[in-house]
């Protein structure tokens, strides 16, 4: 390993270094403000390094394990940005917790590091390591506050995620048995897909989603919905771009999974009365839309692949940003000992807290795919890709599901605009500043990308090419 390779790994090492500083701080001098400052500075330095010095990184792969091409660097920076958002929304949530607060920040940074490793992985060893860092820190995060619903969600996630990891590891072992190496290839693909689909919550493996989203503390749910899903999505595209998927059966499976995810996600979301559960089922449907793009990869080689992967990346970025914003609003009204997740709690939010209700409405519009928000551009790009590939039947299912999805997003907005009768939930008078910064960042990103999507698409198309360069 030479100096330039070491230099290209600095974005990953910085986050690791931040964790190593935080551990002695937590051991010797417990101070939440100090620990929070250290963790946010780490993330900001990481972002600044990628932004300023990212173009100086010339090597495409840092070692056998990591790729540090434009795609990996962009997503390392993007996950740092999301982690900053999660840290900012969790400040007020954590502040009055009587137990140890510093470890929560360490676990958030660790999970982010896992997501970054996943985005940069080029080898099954680094991939599995990243996935496990991500999920093990999630077990801790979900059950962190030790209340009954948290523990229940944590144990559910622990058991199911370790079972899916076992499947995935078996797929990796089959790959090794066939190739004698741990590079990405098409062997053992069904079992690897089981592991990835579980993390993405696609339909046959979606049962954990609603329970874990509901039981987990609100900032942790934001973390699962943004960084955890985003990292696995990025990896899925990298895997598809490199591994050879020439079996017809795989494509049929992907189509079935996509259709089932869209229908099950949207249908179940219609019946829920808990906002976190609605968003959980809507996330299943959204990942189903993304699987439609993956299915379209079937007919195209590298050139079409670049176009399709840039669409998928765009949708993934929009989706994670919007979800972080949505769960940020829920976090604003929740504390570690009380979650405000029932739909009734939001009755009359427009009259009591017009600003945050406006924020919430725009985030929900973006999820539903209304024009002027980034969600519309994402949906539009998927439709255009479907028309371009002339995949009409899948497109029809997508349209039907988008219309069904509109219903439950509008239902939340309608509930917020109804007048609260009798039942008045005490709301905080002013939203805390860190949370407002985070929500403002997400909101401006969504609105800006909704009006000027070409600014981001230009970048994405550039780094999607690096995905296919061998």
């Amino acid at each position: 390993m030479n100096t330039s390779e070491l230099f290209s790994l600095i974005p990953l090492m910085m986050v690791g270094g931040g964790i190593l500083i935080l551990i002695p701080v937590a051991a010797w001098k417990r101070n939440f403000q100090l620990a929070f400052a250290i963790s946010t500075t780490t993330i900001i330095f990481d972002l600044a390094f990628i932004f300023i010095k990212g173009s100086c990184i010339k090597v495409d792969r840092a070692s056998m394990l990591f790729k540090t091409d434009a795609c990996a660097l962009f997503f390392i920076g993007f996950f740092a940005f999301l982690a900053l958002g999660v840290l900012l929304i969790s400040y007020e949530y954590l502040k009055n917790f009587p137990g140890n607060k510093e470890e929560f920040l360490i676990l958030i940074l660790l999970g982010t590091l896992g997501g970054m490793v996943l985005a940069a992985s080029n080898h099954f060893a680094s991939f599995f390591l990243g996935l496990e860092i991500l999920s093990v820190s999630l077990y801790g995060l979900i059950a962190y506050f030790g209340r009954q619903p948290h523990l229940e969600a944590g144990v559910k996630y622990l058991i199911l995620a370790s079972a899916s990891s076992a499947f995935l590891l078996f797929g990796v072992a089959l790959n090794y048995a066939q190739c004698g190496r741990l590079i990405f290839s098409g062997y053992g693909l069904p079992l690897i897909f089981v592991g990835l689909f579980f993390k993405l919550a696609l339909v046959p493996f979606h049962l954990w989603t609603a329970d874990v989203y509901e039981g987990a503390p609100a900032p942790v749910t934001a973390f699962i919905a943004s960084i955890s899903k985003g990292a696995v999505g990025v990896f899925l595209l990298r895997y598809i771009a490199q591994g050879s998927m020439n079996s017809q059966l795989v494509w049929i499976t992907i189509a079935i999974v996509a259709i089932a995810s869209m229908f099950v996600g949207n249908a179940c979301a219609l019946l829920q009365n808990n906002i976190k559960r609605i968003l959980a089922y809507s996330s299943i449907a959204h990942i189903g839309y993304m699987m439609v793009i993956i299915y379209l990869f079937k007919n195209y080689g590298d050139v079409g692949g670049i176009r399709l992967s840039s669409i998928m990346f765009f949708y993934l970025i929009i989706y994670t940003l919007t979800n972080l914003g949505t769960f940020g609003i829920i976090t604003a009204y929740s504390r570690w000992n009380q979650e405000m997740a029932s739909l009734d709690d939001y009755r009359g939010l427009y009259w009591k807290q017009p600003v945050s209700a406006m924020f919430f409405t725009i985030f929900l519009f973006s999820l539903a795919g209304m024009p002027l928000t980034a969600g519309f551009v994402g949906k539009f790009l998927i439709f255009s890709a479907g028309i371009w590939s002339q995949c009409w039947w899948l497109l029809l299912i997508l349209v039907v599901n988008s219309v069904v999805g509109l219903y439950y997003y509008l239902r939340i907005i309608l509930t917020m605009s109804q007048e609260a009768e009798g039942r008045l939930v005490p709301l905080p008078v002013r939203l805390p500043v860190p949370l407002l910064i985070s929500l403002g960042l997400m909101l401006s990103a969504i609105l800006y990308l909704g009006i000027r999507p070409d600014s981001l698409l230009h970048w994405i198309q550039y780094f999607s090419q690096s995905l296919y360069s061998r």
């Binding site: 390993m1 551990i23 002695p24 051991a27 140890n100 506050f145 209340r147 000992n337």
Partner: protein, 126 residues
């Protein structure tokens, strides 16, 4: 497809064996209900007390820490096998690795996990 067929036959054989073993013993096996049928078999000694004992969680902490550090030291062992090939780079990487492990042990020590005899209330909230 022939590979799949073999798999189907194998799976069916597994299923038939499992169902057969349980089913045959269910239908033609003997059933009896005596005074001490339901009692736990403790090598001829009457069982005493309940199995729902309470363990100190401190013991669990030390045990899990032992297992984790044992696993980590396995990696040091692998490095020792390739000591000459790994060279100075491997040495520096290993120093860093051991430093991280040390940091974790220090963290647990400061948290008071090694004080087995000290009675500490469980940090449960709500």
């Amino acid at each position: 497809m022939s590979g799949l067929l073999a798999f189907i036959v194998y799976f069916a054989a597994v299923l038939i064996t499992a169902v057969g073993m349980i089913g045959i013993s269910f239908f033609i096996g003997q059933r009896h209900q005596e005074r001490s049928t339901g009692e736990a078999y403790e090598s001829g000694i009457c069982s005493v007390g309940t199995s729902l004992l309470r363990f100190k969680v401190n013991f669990y902490h030390v045990a899990i820490l032992f297992v984790i550090l044992d696993l980590e030291s396995l990696f040091i062992f692998i490095w020792a096998l390739t000591f000459r090939e790994a060279g100075w780079t491997g040495f520096i990487v290993m120093l860093f690795y051991i430093l991280v492990l040390l940091l974790v042990v220090v963290f647990f020590w400061r948290e008071g996990i090694f004080k087995i005899n000290k009675r500490r209330p469980l940090p449960l909230h709500g």
